[in-house]
Symmetry: C2
Subunit: 155 residues, 2 copies
C-alpha cells in the first residue's frame, strides 16, 4: 500500500518541501492552471471561457482596443484574436469598427448585450478570485495584486 486510495492531499504535502515548490515560476504556473480551470467552469454557463472573457472585458472597457492591442495585452498571436472576436461578434456581443485614423486597424467595441453579459461574467470571475484567495486576508489580497501587477507590467 504505497498510497491510500481516495486521499489526494497526501501526495501534495509530500512534495511541498521540494525545491520546485519554492520556485515562483512553478507556483505561478500551478495557480494559472487551477485558476483558469475554475474560471472556465464558472464562465461556462455564460458561454464564455477565460480567453473570450478577456476579449469581452477589454471590449467593454471603453478603451476601444484594436485587435493588435488585444494581442499585445493578452500576450496572444494576432491570428488568435481573429476567431475569438469572430465568435463574440457572431453572438452580437462585440463589433468590429473601422478605425477612422487608420483603416488597417479594427476597433473592437461591445454592444449593449455584450455589456450585459460582461457584467454577469465579471461577477463570475470575482467569485473565482474569492475562492482562489479564500485563505488570504483582505490586505494580503491587495498586496498580492500589487506585487503580481509589478511583475506582469515591469516598468
Amino acid at each position: 500500500m504505497a498510497t491510500k486510495p481516495g486521499t489526494t492531499t497526501n501526495t501534495i504535502d509530500r512534495f511541498l518541501a521540494s525545491e520546485l515548490a519554492g520556485e515562483i515560476e512553478f507556483l505561478t504556473a500551478r495557480n494559472r492552471s487551477l485558476g483558469s480551470a475554475r474560471a472556465n467552469k464558472l464562465l461556462g454557463p455564460l458561454g464564455l471561457k477565460v480567453r473570450s472573457y478577456s476579449v469581452l472585458s477589454l471590449a467593454c472597457s471603453g478603451m476601444a482596443p484594436t485587435q493588435r492591442e488585444l494581442a499585445e495585452f493578452l500576450l496572444l498571436d494576432p491570428s488568435q484574436i481573429v476567431p475569438l472576436v469572430d465568435e463574440l461578434e457572431s453572438r452580437g456581443l462585440v463589433g468590429r469598427a473601422a478605425d477612422p485614423n487608420d483603416r488597417r486597424s479594427k476597433v473592437i467595441t461591445c454592444t449593449n448585450e455584450g455589456m450585459q453579459l460582461y457584467k454577469k461574467a465579471r461577477v463570475a470571475t470575482a467569485e473565482g478570485e474569492d475562492i482562489a484567495m479564500a485563505n488570504l486576508s483582505k490586505s494580503e489580497k491587495e498586496t498580492l495584486r500589487e506585487l503580481l501587477a509589478r511583475i506582469a507590467f515591469p516598468q
Copy 2:
C-alpha cells in the same frame, strides 16, 4: 470615454487602468506566459523546457515520485507524463524503477548525469526568477512567494 485608438503611446500603459488588469487571474495568466517563455529560452541550451525541467527537478528531489504523483503535483494528465519521462530517460537523465511496494507504480529517479544537468538548470531558472522580480525587494519576493504558495496549495 473612449481613449483615442491608434496612438503610438505604449499599448500596455493604455490598458493598465482596465478592470481586467486588476484581476488576479489575469495577472497570473500573464505572468505565467511571460515566465514560461523566458524560462524556456534560458533552459533551451540545456535541452530542457519548463515541463521537462519540472519532472527532472522532482526526480532529483530525493522524494522518489511516481508518475501518478508527478501528474498530480504538476497538474498534468498522467498520459502527459509518459513522453516527458520517456525523453529524459532516453537521454540517461532519469530512470523508471519498479516500486517494490506497488508494482503498478513506477518511481522516477535521477541519474548522476540527471543531477548534474539539474544543477545547471536550477541556476537558469533562478536567473529567470531574478529577471522576473527585478523590481521587487528581497522581502517583497519572499512575501510574494509565500502568498503564491498559499494559493497554489490551499489547506
